[in-house]
């Protein structure tokens, strides 16, 4: 029996097809202008890679900011719930999840059964979200993943006076004009990102194990900076791409419903 999860985010869209608690296929694409176009494309790709059609999918759950606009899902569930569920599947011992999306960031606490205890989200300010990194990468003329690798070589990271994306961007331009080594600017950007994320995470109270989901979790520079900032280890997700957490959670919700709540 196949189930699917589809996570339509502001920047990327993800689809996961699962069978008997295992991932059969997963796809990540850049989001299109319209959420439903993203959903159709990413799910279509996942299905064709798996050699399946939509008829083979017993149940599909949608999530992400575009979740209400997906035509083919049986149900839409919030990102918070899906990320919690997905993170627990990726790291069963997880109690705190920090998820950085393209335009938001969230922190959530789970109990030992995986139930959501608390969550906090920021989608009002670009600082601390994927957008912050994107803006900085653009002025530095770097790719997002280059910025992470580069920052590791930094010896004297720059600091920013303000967390605001607008002011930090102006600072980055000034540092570039002053010929500050690019790795020091990149490291400063990652540190700024991490300190903003820490505020959110500390707000709900950290409990180990802590893990990070979302595309930014693949940026080692940010993860290291966040570890330092929080003063706690962040468990690296190895089982699957951390960017898939939301879609995995959605697929798991679909599976639960199909199994009639039996786990």
């Amino acid at each position: 029996m196949f189930v699917a999860g589809c996570d339509v985010g502001s920047l990327t869209s993800k689809a996961v097809i699962m069978k008997d608690g295992k991932i059969v296929e997963s796809v990540i694409i850049k989001s299109k202008a319209r959420p439903w176009e993203s959903a159709d494309e990413v799910m279509g790709l996942a299905l064709s890679k798996a050699g399946l059609t939509m008829k083979d999918i017993k149940r599909c759950v949608g999530t992400g900011y575009g979740r209400d606009k997906i035509s083919f899902v049986n149900e839409a569930i919030s990102e918070i719930a899906c990320h919690g569920k997905g993170a627990r599947w990726l790291v069963p011992s997880v109690r705190t999840v920090i998820d950085i999306g393209g335009q938001d960031c969230k922190a959530l606490r789970l109990d030992d059964k995986g139930n959501m205890i608390k969550f906090i989200t920021n989608d009002k300010c670009a600082s601390g979200t994927g957008r912050f990194l994107e803006v900085m990468a653009k002025v530095m003329n770097l790719k997002l993943d280059e910025m992470g690798e580069m920052s590791i070589r930094s010896k004297h990271p720059v600091t920013f006076a303000s967390a605001c994306t607008v002011w930090a961007q102006a600072d980055v331009i000034q540092h570039l004009n002053n010929k500050v080594p690019i790795e020091d600017i990149a490291a400063g950007v990652n540190n700024a990102m991490a300190s903003r994320m820490s505020v959110l995470a500390n707000n709900i109270g950290l409990e180990s194990d802590v893990c990070m989901t979302g595309g930014v979790a693949k940026n080692s520079g940010v993860v290291n900076a966040l570890e330092k900032n929080l003063g706690t280890r962040i468990k690296r997700i190895r089982r699957e791409d951390p960017q898939l957490a939301g879609a995995i959670g959605a697929a798991l919700f679909a599976a639960e419903k199909v199994n009639g709540g039996a786990k």
Partner: protein, 262 residues
């Protein structure tokens, strides 16, 4: 008695020359990267306009974020103090000043002499500052100075759902793509900037009369948007942008008078 005030802001440099309680000359120039250079230039021009020599200035006070870098000033004073002082000179009944600058916004409560009672300040977030307008003007490819007049042609009421400049910029681009009219978009932008500045001002309780100062006050659309956001009538100030420099020049008068008494 001739005194001068010089206000080095993030975007512009302002100078005011006072003679016996009257403004002899004032000048506003675009600032350069070096505050000391901007200060020299703006003072030089104001002095020329006033038809005096720089040596005629008996006392000068510097203010603004670049005040520590002005070489020839006798002393420096915070922008908050200068804005309070300038506002009450321009509008004697002023008790609240909302100042929106290029990179900050402040709200100041003052007494009848212009002494600061309370103030609140934002330079941590670009929203609610002049920078918000500047960034959007840039991405819409229109002149900052044209925004006020353009917004007055607005016919359809739009509103922005984002307070963050970065997110609002994206939102505005989608509005343009949806075929919304530029004047309507600018009008919505003014309201968004004003709402942010107003929430700052409300935190110190706005007392009548309220005045708006700073370069942004020259934008008629922003002026009425702030009135709407605050829910009070704002008093017009003849020279909103030179208010800080004017306050500095007035403080220079005080300094001179108290030194003469001694």
């Amino acid at each position: 008695m001739i005194t001068a005030g010089c206000d080095i802001g993030s975007l512009t440099a302002k100078a005011v020359i006072l003679k016996d309680g009257k403004i002899l000359a004032s000048e506003v120039i675009l600032g350069s990267a070096q505050p000391e250079k901007s200060a020299l230039e703006v003072i030089k021009r104001a002095v020329e306009k006033a038809g005096i020599k720089i040596e005629d200035i008996e006392y000068s006070v510097g203010t603004g974020y670049g005040r520590k870098h002005i070489p020839f000033m006798n002393s420096s004073e915070s922008e908050i103090v200068c804005h309070g002082r300038g506002a009450v000179w321009q509008v004697p009944s002023a008790r609240t000043v909302v100042d929106i600058g290029g990179q900050d916004a402040k709200a100041i409560r003052i007494d009848e002499k212009g002494n600061v009672e309370r103030y609140v300040y934002n330079d941590k977030c670009a929203s609610g500052t002049g920078r918000f307008l500047e960034i959007i003007a840039d991405s819409l490819d229109i002149k900052l100075d044209d925004m006020g007049a353009m917004s007055e042609r607005s016919k359809e009421k739009l509103s922005l759902s984002n307070q963050c400049v970065i997110f609002a910029e994206t939102e505005i681009i989608s509005l343009v793509n949806e075929g919304k009219e530029i004047p309507d978009i600018i009008s919505a932008l003014h309201q968004a900037v004003a709402n942010r500045a107003a929430s700052l001002a409300k935190s110190i309780l706005v007392a009548p009369d309220a005045v708006m100062t700073g370069g942004v006050a020259k934008n008629s659309g922003m002026f009425s948007a702030l009135e709407k956001a605050l829910g009070v009538k704002l008093h017009r100030v003849d020279n909103p942008q030179i208010n800080g420099a004017l306050g500095a020049a007035l403080i220079a008068v005080d300094a001179l008078e108290s030194s003469k008494k001694k």
